[in-house]
Every structure is written in C-alpha cells, then in structure tokens.
Symmetry: C2
Subunit: 444 residues, 2 copies
C-alpha cells in the first residue's frame, strides 16, 4: 500500500492558487483551501477539495501550508496580523510555503517574525512561481525556492508535484533567495513587455507594416520571448486579455523598491514603471499589456515628416532600438542578480528558459557574467573582432533617437538605454565589448 | 541733425519677429520685412514697415539683416538653399543677425558655409533671444549674442535697441556661443516647466489643495520662476495659452541632439522630452504647457490608498520632490555649460535673472560651479554643517517615490533625479555636499 499523502492547507484560491490547489487534489493530496471570497470556496469544494472558515482553521493539524495570496500585505494579514491568523495554529515543525510574489525583504522579515514569536520550528520556504494559471493546474510551474538545507528535504517532494521537473530551481542563499531570483527575472519581463510596445509603436510611426516588422524581429538576433508572445495580440485588438497591465506593476514595484532600499540603480525598470503608471492612470490597467502600443502610436498633432529611409533601413532602426533595450535590460537584470548575491549561472539558466529569454541574453549573458565577476575590469573588455562594440550600438541607437525626435515619438526605454550605453562608453572605450555596459550598474 | 538710422532687413514676421521688427520701426529705423505668410506682410505695412517679396529682395542694399524664422531648416532655406535666398543678395560687409533658436552646430555650419561661398565678408551674429512677444515689441528682450570682436562693434547699437540693457549678454566664444548659452538656459526651462506639472499633479494625487500647495512652494526654498508663472494657469483651466507644449519641444530637441552629438548625458531633459512627445501624441501640443498636469492627475483604476501622512508631511513630500528635480536640472544645465566651454559665471548671472531662475540655483549655483571647475574632486565635497547633503536629499526623495508608487502616480523627473542623486552618492559619500551631484555628468 502506498504511503498516505500528507494533508495540505492552501490559503489563497485566486487564478494561480486555485490551479495549484486543484492540481494537488488531482494528485491525491487531501487539500483544505481558504479564501476570503466565498465563491472560490464553493468552487473548490465542487472540485473535490475541503474548505475552512479562517486561516487558523485551515492550517490546524496540517504538516504543510501553502500561501498564495496576492501581496506581502495580504500574506502578513493571513499569516500573522489579521483575524484568526495561520501561524499560531500551525503544528510544531510544519512547513510554510510562501508562493506569493513578494520582496526578499518581506520574506526575510517573515522569517525573523517567526523566530521572535517562538515559532522558529516552522520551516519557511520562500517559493515564488511563474508560468500562469494553466501550468499551475497541470503542475508544471517554474518554481524558484529558497530555504534551509533541512527544509529542502521536507519540501522537495511537494514542490516536485507542482513544478516542471526541469524548472524546479532550488536557489542558493536560503529564505529570500527565491524571491530575489523571481525579482531578477521580472526585470527582464518588465522591460521586455514594454519594449514590445515601444518597438512596434515606433515601427508603426515609421510607416512600417506591423506583420512584416513582427516577422523581421522574430527571425533576427533581437528575438525575445515577450515580443513573440505579446505582438500577436497587438494584431487582434489586444484580445484575449492574457496578462493585464496591472499585473506587471506588482513586479516593478518590488524591483524598484528593493533597488532603492539597497542603493542599486534600476534606470530601465524605473522608467518602465512610470510608463505603466501613466497607462493605469488612463484606465488601461485591466487591458492586456500588449495594448501599451497605444501610448506610442497616438500621433495627434505630430509633425508630418518625410523620411528618406527605405523599408529595409527602417526595419534596421527598429532592430537597433530593440537591441539597445535588450542589452540594457539584460545588464540591469544580471547586475541586480550579482548585487543580491545570486548564483549568476543559475540566473542565466533560469532566464534563458523562461519569459525573460532573448537571443541577446543567450549570446551575451556569459560575457556579462564574466564582466560582473571580474569587477568590470575595463582593460579586459575590448571586443573581439567577431563581437559587437558599445560604440557601434551607441551610434546606431543615436540614429534611432534622431528619427524618433523628428517624428516626435516617445522612446522611454530607448532613450534611457542610450544614456546607459553612452555612460558605459565614457568609462570604457568605443571598442569596448558590449558586456562593458554592466559598468553602468556597478560602483565605479 | 541726428545721424540717419541704418536700414534693416527683417526676415520672419511671426509672433516674436513681428514684435521685434515693429519695435525697430517705432525707434525710427527703416525696416523692410519679409514672411512667407502674406497677412503678416500686410499687417507689417499697416504698422509702418516696408515689405518685400523674397528674401533676396528684402536684404538688397541693407547693411543689416535680422533673421527670426522658427527653425534651422527655415533659416537655411531663406538664407541659402531656398528660392531667391538672402545671402547672395546681401551687400559687402553686411551684418547678419540670426535670432532664431538653433543649435550651436547649425550656426557654426552657417558660418562655414558663408566662408566657403566666398561671403566671409558678412559679419554673422549668433543672437538668440528670450522674453516673449510682449518684451520683443518693447525692445526689452534678453539677448545672448556670440560673434567676432570686429562684429561686436558694428552690431552692439542695434542689439541695444532690442534688449533690456541689463539683459544684453555678449557671450565669449564667438559664433555658436550665443546659441549654446540659450540651450543651457533651456535645460532649466524644459525641466522646470514639466516639474511644475509633476509636482502639482503629485500634490493633487496626495489629496492636497492646489492653492495651498502653490503658496507653500512659492514661499519656500523650492521657489522657481517656471512654477510661479505656470501654476496660476493650472487654476484657470490652462487659460490663457501663454506658451504651448509644442514650443518647448523645439528646445528639448536642440538640447538632446547636441548632447548626443557631443557625448554629453542629458538624462533629465531627455526624459522630459519623452513626456512632451507623449503629450503631443495625445493632441495637447497647442495647449498651454501648464496643462501637462493632466498627465499626472489621471487616476482611473489607480489604487485607493489611505495615506497616514498629515497635510504638513504631504507638503513636505511635494517640496522634497521639487528639491530633487531642481538640484538635478541645475546640475544638468551647469555641467552642460561647462562641457560647451561657456563662462560659468556668465551662465549663472543670466539664468538667475531669467525664466530658469530658482532659489536653489541662486544658493547652490556657485558651489556647483566650483565643483565643475575643480573636476569634481570628491574629497573636497563634504558638506559643511549648514548645507544639505546628498544623502539627506536621496533619503527624502526615496520616501517621495515610495508614496508615489503606492498611489501609482508616474514621477518621470523625480525618478530620474533619484537615480542621478543615488549615483552621485555612490561615487562620493552620504555626507557629500549637494554640488557633488555634478559628478553624474562629468567623466569619472
């Protein structure tokens, strides 16, 4: 007879949480779910789960608790500070898996709170996920988990039920490291979601056909996962809504707040965040994030300009813009990973297999990592003949910005990337390898 | 009998040009005007001027030609490349005063063109103006003129008829230096026009009363000329239209293009420019630039946040935001002035008496200039007890950004200023004097 599966308490039955909890039910776990929204409880019972009426009731006598609420504030409330909180009711030696996307700062403060409340017996697992509701329900999520060695033994089988076996990352660095890993990945996501709109918007203002542009980018070295997945919806009136503008701003807030707290510069993500806030102010928050192209294609009162460029030259400008943005978003992500002491090889491995992937990350990531490890020794950064140079990228981006200026198209990311690359150029040389861009984030 | 006043050719009878030309008519000069818009010619004749039918006809036999068209492209056309251009028809040894706002680069290329066409006999005066149409018509403009020594003797009496005696600046550095001086002043103008909207928009989103906020800023060390002159129109539905959004983008384009050409970083002006382009795309180009507050006050779908700050604390956040922006716009302007080899004392003297003025410029300008001259020797930059430190400003701006993030208000300038100050903090120390911020623009 097979060993009985342990009981699971599951707090937070939203889109992601419901899928994750249901997957465990299907795999034979007794799961008791809780949510503040009664219809979610009914739906969960109908799907074969048990439910409870409070966080404390949910976790009583359960060796595992998975918390999948939306924010750190909600986690703090259901676990400790709200009515009938979970933690005091958890049995001795229980495992608490926090899968909400929160800052490293929060999850570490939670760990300290457990200890100061005399509940150091609880094994806290910092375990953000990504992959969306469909993969949650299949049990094939990406999971980035940070924890103590001892906790790993206890939790690995359960995490393995929820993750794609190739995408279960145990992140070195203990509690907080999982959240840092997700945060670093979301630097790429946040910049590249907006980049898809900025680049396609620029293309439209150049007079290019969007389908032609889309194909050209996807077949080039400027391919990136977000562009591939966002641009189809730009061609179908931003339908269906797959990922709302509101969603990515949860991540940008974590990234920029953590940057400020640590004195780490996030010029790319910060400017993206301001643009997201503009979009939310205009009421675009619930819309698919591919709809951000609207911020770039509005052209009331813009000058009519007769551009002399051929279609091929215009496509070149579009790719030069994407190249500059990608180089700087990769630089910002990897430099941030280094600043929070993540294993850079693992960051690279995770990001090239996830939504932050790009050809540029795949090609340049290893040299960026080497430059970060070497402390950006500028003497060693002269580009080999086969590689691109900072000087060449700056020159091409300069032409992009000049054209955008004639057309009066805002290029928030492109302009910021130009400044970052130009700064790198000044502390290195025009012949410096592209990896020298990391100097922009590293203390000189 | 008084000496007869010399004949003046005047090309470009727009709002500014018409006022300038009319002022000369009133002062007894025989003025022949030209414009491509026939009603302007009729109106000029009705006001006592003469008119001509082409640029060449306008300048024939006139010892002076003043060119006041809108852009470098228009100047190039009327002077050299268009139909019946002016330059070939100018008499030997004539004086050509270019008062259009153009880049240093363009006016120097015009000088080279004159020489290569064999018209090195023409005395070219690089003479941008500021002050608006009313002061143009009174002859009390600010004029920033660059020219050769020999040309100065010939042109000074005529410039004196058009300028306020205290605001006629002969800029050292010859042709091009006048345009550079105006460009540097417009860095302050471009950042501070948008700052008025960003700061007042943030105040509104904080729930502050705009009149109270306006008074508090004007009575504080965050006073600046643009805020004083823009905020009244925010309270009268942006009426009357005194300076359209489209106008300032002419200047930002010159500033950022010249920055790119020289490898000088303009992070503040560049992000302002993107916001201006957004506004133009939405159709706000012809509106008064005080209406940019609309970009910040839209709050559809933004989170409802209960802020714990008192009204006084909220006003403090508003002033901290303005302080950060002002410090960085002053830093960008003075560092650019230094990069283009202007006399920094003269820049300071001009800016504190013009639309770029602020209490912070008046107080900190001299120490910023000293830091730029000393090559940002960071050891000498520790703040005296009485002065502010970079560390304190960064800390306060951090609280501003955290609050804005909760409210989802975009702070384009505030976020960029934070990055600039944080970077300065990293290459100096938290106790560094505020002038250390110039390190962000100077090659390390």
């Amino acid at each position: 007879m097979a060993e009985a599966k342990p009981s699971i308490a599951f707090i937070g039955l939203g889109a992601m949480g419901f899928g994750m909890a249901l997957n465990l039910v299907k795999r034979g776990y007794p799961v008791t779910g809780y949510d503040i929204w009664p219809p979610a409880l009914e739906r969960f019972r109908a799907a074969g789960g048990h439910t409870a009426n409070s966080p404390s009731q949910t976790v009583a006598n359960k060796p595992f608790c998975i918390c999948m609420v939306a924010t750190a504030e909600q986690a703090q409330s259901v676990l400790l500070s709200g009515p009938d909180p979970a933690v005091p009711a958890m049995p001795y030696g229980a495992v608490l898996i926090l899968s909400s996307t929160v800052s490293c700062d929060y999850v570490r403060s939670l760990d300290r709170q457990l200890h100061s409340l005399g509940r150091g017996d609880i094994f806290l697992i910092d375990s953000p996920v990504s992959g969306g509701a469909a993969r949650a329900a299949e049990g094939t999520l990406s999971i980035m988990a940070g924890m103590s060695e001892e906790a790993l033994d206890k939790v690995r089988p359960l995490l393995a039920e929820m993750a794609d076996p190739k995408k279960l990352y145990v992140v070195q660095g203990g509690v907080g490291a999982g959240s840092n890993m997700k945060m670093v990945h979301q630097v790429l996501a946040a910049c590249q979601i907006l980049a898809a709109s900025e680049v396609m918007g620029f293309a439209e203002r150049l007079g290019l056909d969007l389908v032609t542009t889309q194909k050209a980018v996807l077949q080039s070295d400027t391919w990136n996962w977000m562009f591939e997945h966002r641009t189809p919806r730009m061609l179908t009136h931003f339908q269906p809504v797959a990922s709302a503008v509101n969603i990515i701003t949860k991540d940008t807030s974590i990234i920029t707040a953590e940057g400020r707290r640590r004195g780490f510069l996030t010029p790319m993500t910060s400017v993206a965040e301001q643009v997201y806030f503009c979009a939310i102010g205009r009421g675009f928050g619930p819309d698919d994030d591919s709809s951000l192209i609207r911020l770039y294609t509005e052209s009331k009162g813009a000058a009519t300009v007769n551009l002399s460029e051929t279609e091929e030259e215009k496509l070149g400008l579009v790719m030069d813009l994407m190249t500059g943005i990608l180089i700087c978003s990769v630089g910002e992500a990897l430099a941030f990973a280094s600043a929070v002491d993540l294993d850079l090889e693992q960051v690279f491995d995770l990001c090239v297999n996830a939504a932050g992937a790009s050809t540029i990350l795949g090609k340049l990531g290893p040299s960026f990592i080497a430059a970060l490890r070497a402390g950006v020794n500028t003497n060693s950064l002269v580009a080999k003949d086969s590689e691109g140079t900072i000087g060449a990228v700056v020159e091409r981006l300069q032409r992009v910005l000049e054209t955008a200026q004639q057309l009066k198209v805002p290029l928030f990311l492109g302009s910021q990337a130009f400044h970052i690359l130009q700064r790198a150029l000044r502390v290195t040389s025009p012949r410096a390898a592209l990896c020298a861009v990391v100097s922009a984030w590293v203390v000189q």
